[in-house]
Symmetry: D3
Subunit: 221 residues, 6 copies
């Protein structure tokens, strides 16, 4: 019988891992709220406000993040990002902010993408970057920004980066949501499995071209 | 001893059913949050943001609601409503919206009521309806609206409907809270058990009249 | 021509009196914002966040309200209220709070009413008061409260007061919106001009009874 | 000199047309706020909370919208939309909601797009529609929905529609922001003027293909 | 094995005590949410929105607080405060408000402090009090307030009180957060263990003076 | 007469400079809102959401800030800050974020201070810094952070910095309010003019010591 109990308990705690995903981003309701490690790791796409451990158990290290000292892993387009939110930096939980380090190889790009739940402030740590965003009226605001300059990408608008300098470039971006989300246009549109006829009509591409795009952005297809 | 444990566990999980009712309506903190069926059904008057299942387990059907194809059950005043919130349509959870189908028989009415936590947009699917609301200065804004027209009822203000056409009428209402609440004036005031002397003085009615009202709106009394 | 200008200017400034009614209640965006007297008095039903004067011109008196030292004017039901919001106490503007002094003669009542945009905390300064509210499930929560006790009325729910003591009673109520609004059920429903047939059906009253109610709550009819 | 004044005044009022664009979507601060027509028409891309006229001047018609009775103008992809926000329906101002009628010819599509500031609830008035959205993890949630069914598109996520029935289809969509915004992926990405080299790299297309896309989505180029 | 289970359960429930600390202060998502006593007492510094019991189990007494009838315990500076939040008054949970009774002996003071998450409205129940606050520009707004007067302290700004009358004084303060927080400047700065060299430089005090201050505000050092 | 008009207009526009200070920090209601330069410069202590120019007139440069390339002017404590908000970087207006560059000479400090309306994320651009904050329970969380590390200071809590390295240090801080405010404890408490007797009692200092402090933090006294 106690094994039945154990099973119940396990089911219960397993389900809690993906849950207790409540609440919203506005003002914190307490000084801080360090997620309780008991609840395990939460998948990125479903990150949220997490249950906290007792404030007595919080330590200074809960509020310091040291994982941005070097670049992350580079993609095919010469981009390496380290997005930092409460799953990797517990101290952020409930405080309404998150951040990211983005590195671009020479000629590397960060493809058009947007954050559904946050404005982003991009501070150029080093390098020369063509950066910009598009507004709801399809107008592009883009130019080259350099070390020490800051560009703002308004909440929910498509934006992009390209290293146009002769050295690697690094951006420190901060966002006003603890889980801003990220929709990368090429893979969200061509790599997610949207009906091909719809894509054909939407982009005026041939079925063959759509097929090529789908294979590029979702190799598993 | 393990039976004691079981009891503890049961108490614990039973209580969780009515709880984990936290948070508020503003911006979602994740793409979506499908409530975990493990937590059972939640009573309407206490509906709230619910713990979610893992996002991997979400399916397309979690985001589609098919229960509005025909009218609900009619009341004495010729009204049938199907209010839709996360208890019946899990995909709404954390997204800050809910909706309702309201049908009115010929001459039927939706009595004066208000939603404590939402503005409502009423779209006339069919019929001719006298619709309106009252503002804080006791001014009524009311007129007949017809198929294809839309009326807005500002957050928290008393509003009402009456079918003044020769055919049944249908409204699709949407509200900007996942749990807008609903206080129906006749039953909230006369059917809830407020002190009779207070009601007498408030409405200038006789004790007998108040008694009649109470029996009408709360037959159990 | 300059007189045309003057007219234009006057129209412009007159319209500004009722306008610049923007924004919402959440966090202030500055330390404070004392409304600019240039914009004149704003009607109560349309009160809102007002344009401010330069912070240099703010004085200590802008943040102190002295008009609650004695009771206001009593109504027929033995109630006197002094609602305090930014129109009479400029320092409240943008800060998300307002308050009210309510006095009740012996046997006096505050009829069922609700605030569309705020929770209320009622502190009994003196007296014995039967106080309560109704929830969305038509359940009443009411009892007698006495000097020094505090009752909370959740946002948007119908509530009421009756002096059941042998002396006058006084309440200090505070609300978490700078313009909570107030819908008094008797006058909002019977004194606002809602269609009589609808009211008949909603409350199960005769046309004659509705007529009596209308005359009571809107003598102008 | 008075002509100088006139010029000043004109500059001033002209500038006010594009301004007084303040505030945010949360709770209203008053019952309602009908925009003052004196401030003229506001451009769609910059719509916002507008200054109001005095509440005494509000009329019932300010709260009813009658412009959805028939479909709007169709685009090349067989789509006609009538987005309704405070610029065309003043009563919505400050109330945190807006809505849209979308008609699709047989085989018509609404290309992938998203609303940066709102969740959308889509109610099928008539027809059979393949509808769906993509989450932050590039997973698509799509299926056919029919008359009377409702699908929810979470805030800020890419979504799309295609009429897969044998008759025209109509959707009534409601959104929880008075100005949700709309980024249509094809034109925002290929028709806005983003650097061609960046687009080449992002989508793996040839310079020629990018050129074709740009001409399609921005014929002026 | 069942003892292992018990341990697990205990760990689990112990951790829940300090957790389920989620969400934020804005609009409630349900009529009310009475914290479930099962979750035990929560430490003040980490107070937050708590899981609720089923609404059926709520009673009128959950919404009335009777603990303010007499003053609390006095400190060395002649101050006694009874801060009331959901840990002691469950009915406040999720409703966005809390309150406090503060008593001052003759010549007593409430030292400079601030509430990180709320505006405060201070109503003088009895006495004469020198009260004020400092804005972001280091300007002080202070004067004597008397019985029946109300002063507002804007969110997050340093404020203070001193009884300048000849009798004890009492304040009823209400705040627009259920957990406003409180940083008392003397003990937060000198009693918390900030590096002494930093304090020396910040305040221009000698190491000896800093030592005296530290001993005064943190006797354990 | 037209001169009278001119005077009226001037009064009007002068007053607008310090006003139109409305609204709150939450979600933007439009893509962006570049403040209209017509409204002149706004004083820092009263910064707020500003009226915008027409979106057609927005340029890319409105969204890029170039003034952080070198340190600002140093104070006596070896600190130089460049706070950046909509008054100096118009593109931030309505987007809910602002930022700051802080430079510290060797041994320099940023005295205990707090931001009433924002959480801060501090990214170390160069140097070694002792950094920390105090929570509502007077517990200090402090340690040395180095180049590439990030520390978070929760909303409204007292925090501080000291350069403990052998080279100058630079911080890039970002905050989730467009006008976070800043109360510097030493000058807010001792340099603002709070009653001396109150300060004596609050800090346990002699009248002479208070006098010394006042002269240091407010030389004008």
């Amino acid at each position: 019988m106690s094994s039945k109990l154990l099973v119940l308990l396990l089911i219960f705690s397993l389900n809690l891992r993906g849950c207790l995903v409540l609440a919203s981003d506005p003002d914190p309701l307490q000084d801080f709220c360090i997620p309780n490690p008991l609840f395990g790791s939460i998948k990125t796409a479903h990150l949220s406000i997490l249950p906290c451990k007792n404030s007595d158990e919080a330590t200074t290290n809960d509020f310091v993040f040291s994982g941005l000292k070097s670049a992350g892993n580079f993609t095919d387009t010469g981009l390496a990002t380290i997005p930092v939110n409460p799953t990797v930096f517990p101290g952020l939980n409930t405080l309404g902010m998150s951040f990211v380090r983005a590195d671009l190889k020479v000629d590397g790009i960060n493809p058009p993408h947007f954050h559904p739940r946050a404005t982003e402030i991009a501070y150029v740590v080093q390098g020369r970057i063509y950066a910009g965003f598009v507004d709801s009226g399809n107008r592009v605001f883009a130019r080259v920004i350099e070390q020490g300059e800051v560009m703002v990408f308004p909440r929910g608008l498509v934006h992009f980066l390209m290293n146009v300098g002769k050295t690697p470039a690094t951006i420190f971006g901060s966002l006003n949501s603890q889980n801003p989300g990220n929709q990368k246009i090429p893979s969200a549109v061509f790599g997610s499995g949207i009906n091909e006829e719809l894509l054909q009509k939407a982009f005026g591409l041939s079925l063959k071209q759509i097929g090529t795009m789908k294979r590029r952005f979702n190799p598993k297809t």
